[in-house]
């Protein structure tokens, strides 16, 4: 093995999806025996690049060299045959089968007689070698998430991988498990394995990586950065950038009374783990308050609790002085909570516009009246005034520029931007007092982004309180009057004049140093 040859060399990789340039002429080099971190925000193109490497996608341009030879994989099976294995964020294991059975799954050997005990020994030995200790006979469902990850790693090692790709491996792990994973990674690197470590967590990258490549919006912003020659602030800047996209006209205005107050709110995620840990924040009338954070740090759960879709474990959500959900809220049947919140004037632009925000096979009209069908003039006793509904829908379609042949068109025929305009039309036309806007511009093209942003600013001018959750820092800074930063279910700090680097640091887990309160709203209101 010549040490001068790189394990992986990707040259000028370009991959385009409809409307998105996911990878724009990316160069990436992995040396033998190193741990190389691929750093970037969600959507920066990390996973796309790795999928090009493992043959899941075909790059449109560029070349891939493995150990100095030009390669082109058609499938992950090809890639593993050449020693490249990937541990995905979502494990691909059969819960009812044992560790050994999972490792052997899909291999040609054993051919006929399943001599499991023979392989049990082999797998246990392999685990021991790399510090991945595990009982080969245990069933997957009995294992913790950290142990399941070990099985995934053993799976690719067993297939003879020398190049390992780990996609955000720490996202699912507890702190001690992260420590153990790092030990394993170091052992493997010392044995000559080359490792690509995908992450957006600066602390971890600084701890485990030898070198770093930073991606942002499909481009390399820094390559071959030595960990010893950099710091977290610089990495944060490289990762989130600082260019403002649009000049938005945001008029100065003094915020009014507090509309939304969240008090020590805690909640769990779907897996029953703590997602929100005692969050407090507030939003005033005529104010856009941004919530910055890397996806998966509790933003979705927060929006769901505020809109009544998820029950909090502690704390209160107070709208106009009245507790809607939480300890002090009036006891209402769970099925009625959402309705009560809608009736209190809370609009919700959901994160998932196709699966939550709209009904794909119903018409545009039916989708537009989703919140208004209970009240006159759309409702007429038990009936829906079909003509009135159509007229209302038609006028919304025109004024919100929803591009569709007719209002009878099913919602699934709309593009992302038009679907989002439909949701905004519906939510804004209810004249909300409070609007929870989740990732309102995610995945939209430039024109649609601008129209959505203008609508939010118009709502601010009209005196609505808006909580804006976005992963686009530029957008948050441009639109928000104040910004809170959320990390692992806690508020890291609050800023009025936000600086990108500082935000970036807080988003990756650093607490605000000077914790002067920007807006003492809570105190004078209670």
């Amino acid at each position: 093995m010549e040490s001068s040859v790189n394990a992986v060399e990707m040259k000028s990789i370009t991959k385009r999806f409809p409307g998105v340039l996911a990878n724009d002429a990316i160069d990436f080099t992995l040396r033998k025996g190193e741990i190389h971190a691929l750093l970037g925000e969600n959507g920066a193109g990390k996973s796309t690049l790795m999928n090009c490497l493992t043959g899941l996608y075909n790059a449109e341009h560029g070349a891939i060299l493995i150990n100095g030879d030009v390669m082109l994989f058609r499938s992950p099976r090809d890639a593993i045959a050449h020693g490249i294995g990937m541990v995905h964020q979502h494990f691909m294991l059969v819960p009812s089968q044992s560790v050994t059975e999972n490792v052997l799954l899909g291999l040609d050997e054993p051919r006929f007689r399943l001599n499991l005990s023979h392989y049990d020994v082999k797998i246990a030995a392999m685990g021991k070698q790399y510090g991945l200790e595990i009982d080969p006979q245990a069933k997957i469902w009995q294992l913790s998430v950290g142990e399941q990850q070990r099985v995934e790693i053993i799976k690719i090692l067993y297939r003879g991988a020398t190049i390992l790709i780990l996609d955000e491996p720490t996202a699912v792990l507890a702190p001690q498990e992260i420590e153990e994973l790092f030990k394993t990674l170091r052992v493997m690197a010392a044995e000559g394995k080359s490792i690509i470590f995908i992450s957006h967590k600066l602390d971890e990258v600084m701890t485990i990586a030898d070198r770093i490549t930073v991606l942002r919006k499909g481009k390399v912003t820094a390559s071959d950065v030595l960990v010893s020659g950099t710091n977290k602030a610089e990495l944060a800047r490289l990762m989130v950038g600082r260019d403002v996209l649009f000049e938005l006209e945001k008029e100065q205005q003094t915020p009014g009374e507090i509309v939304l107050a969240i008090e020590n709110l805690s909640a769990q995620n779907d897996k029953g783990l703590a997602a929100l840990r005692g969050i407090s924040l507030h939003v005033r009338a005529g104010e856009i308050v941004g919530l910055a954070g890397v996806a998966g740090n509790g933003q979705s759960e927060l929006a769901e609790v505020i809109t009544g879709l998820r029950r909090p474990t502690a704390g209160n959500v107070v709208v106009h002085g009245q507790s809607m959900v939480g300890e002090r809220a009036a006891k209402v049947a769970p099925a009625r909570v959402v309705r009560r919140i809608i009736d209190a004037g809370v609009a919700h632009i959901p994160e998932d516009r196709t699966h939550v925000g709209t009904a794909p096979n119903l018409s545009i009209t039916d989708n537009l009246i989703m919140k208004a069908y209970r009240e006159a003039p759309i409702a007429q006793g038990w009936a829906i005034n079909h003509q009135k509904a159509t007229e209302t829908a038609e006028s919304l379609r025109v004024s919100y520029e929803i591009l569709a042949p007719t209002v009878e068109t099913p919602a699934r025929m709309l593009s992302g931007g038009n679907l989002q305009r439909l949701i905004l039309a519906r939510e804004i036309s209810s004249e909300p007092k409070l609007m929870i806007a989740m990732q309102p511009t995610r995945g939209l093209d430039v024109g649609a982004i601008e129209s959505v942003q203008r609508m939010l600013l118009a709502q601010r001018k009209a005196g609505a309180a808006i909580l804006l959750v976005s992963e686009e820092l530029n957008e948050l800074i441009a639109l928000s009057d104040r910004i809170y930063v959320i990390y692992e279910g806690e508020i890291m700090g609050e800023m009025k004049e936000a600086k990108t680097e500082e935000l970036g640091l807080m988003m990756t887990g650093s607490r605000q140093v000077d914790s002067e309160k920007i807006d003492q709203g809570q105190r004078d209101n209670n």
């Binding site: 309705r339 409702a379 009878e408």
Partner: protein, 353 residues
Amino acid sequence: MDQSKWLGLAVSTGAVVVALILGGVILFLVGGNPVRTYIFMAKASFGSLGVLSDTLTKATPLILTGLACAIAFRMRLWNIGAEGQFFLGAFGASAVVLTPLLGADTSPWIMLPAMMLAGALAGALWGFIPGYLKARFDVNEIISSLMMNYIAIAWNNFFIFAVWSEGGFQMSPQFPRSAWLPRLTNYSQSAPILQGLTTHMGLIIGLVAAVIIWWIVFRSRWGYEIRLIGDNPRAARYAGINIARNTILVMMLSGALAGLAGMSEISGVVHRLQGSISPGYGFTGIIIAWLAKLNPLIIIPVSILFGALILAGREIQPSGIPTLLQGIILVSLIASDFLLRYKIRFTKRTQEA
């Protein structure tokens, strides 16, 4: 009519045609002449006023059970229990006559509405049970409603064999005339052409029900909620709709319609409670609802088609052929759904450099 609706109907019709062709192949293989058989079947069900009337009589319970399935399926509630709800509806209507809650000399104007109400309520109760279990404990309604069928049949048998048995036979005494739904033949004195025609008032009940269900689904607030839940329950929850309550209500409405079918059948055709009142009307309703793409008005012609198939089944040998055709129609239909949902494209594997 927009293109997707038009395409849906075309594909449904295509499925029936394909089924007839496949059925023809089977007829040919067993030594029959497919064309002659089909002509004979058509004549047997539409050839004269008499058989047309019989076809409509057969279609009557199918319209109601078809509607029962369609309203539940609209909300993606898989009520497989229309058969049991049909039996319970027949039981409820019989109870009015046989208990007797109302005497034999009661005016039909009171007797018949009372039987309809009792039948619908009994069916609704049979729908309520799986609906409540689903809403409250997330019990799979397919299994529970299916199992409820057997309970319903056994329940009816108990009454037929023991309580209301007529002289030890497995049937109840015949209902008094006041409990019969009027038939066309009743009016043959003023219009001789109606002589012997069996079509009864149940058909009117079915047609009115179809219009009412169409109105509920497409023009009422409740129907809007049902359609929204059916298309995307997460969006419905987001819009503040009470899914559990609607689950129970829709199952009850579904049960009530099937119960009404049971009432109409014993009061309009059989005139007594007995074991063999349904050749699987509740299950055929499932096929009809699908074939009509859950549209309440289209259920009417589809039911007539199936009524004809059932009638023709008595005329040709082997009599299994119409049942076989029903099965083939359902399979073709489910297969054709694939064509609507997916677009089949033929592509070449991209060649790599």
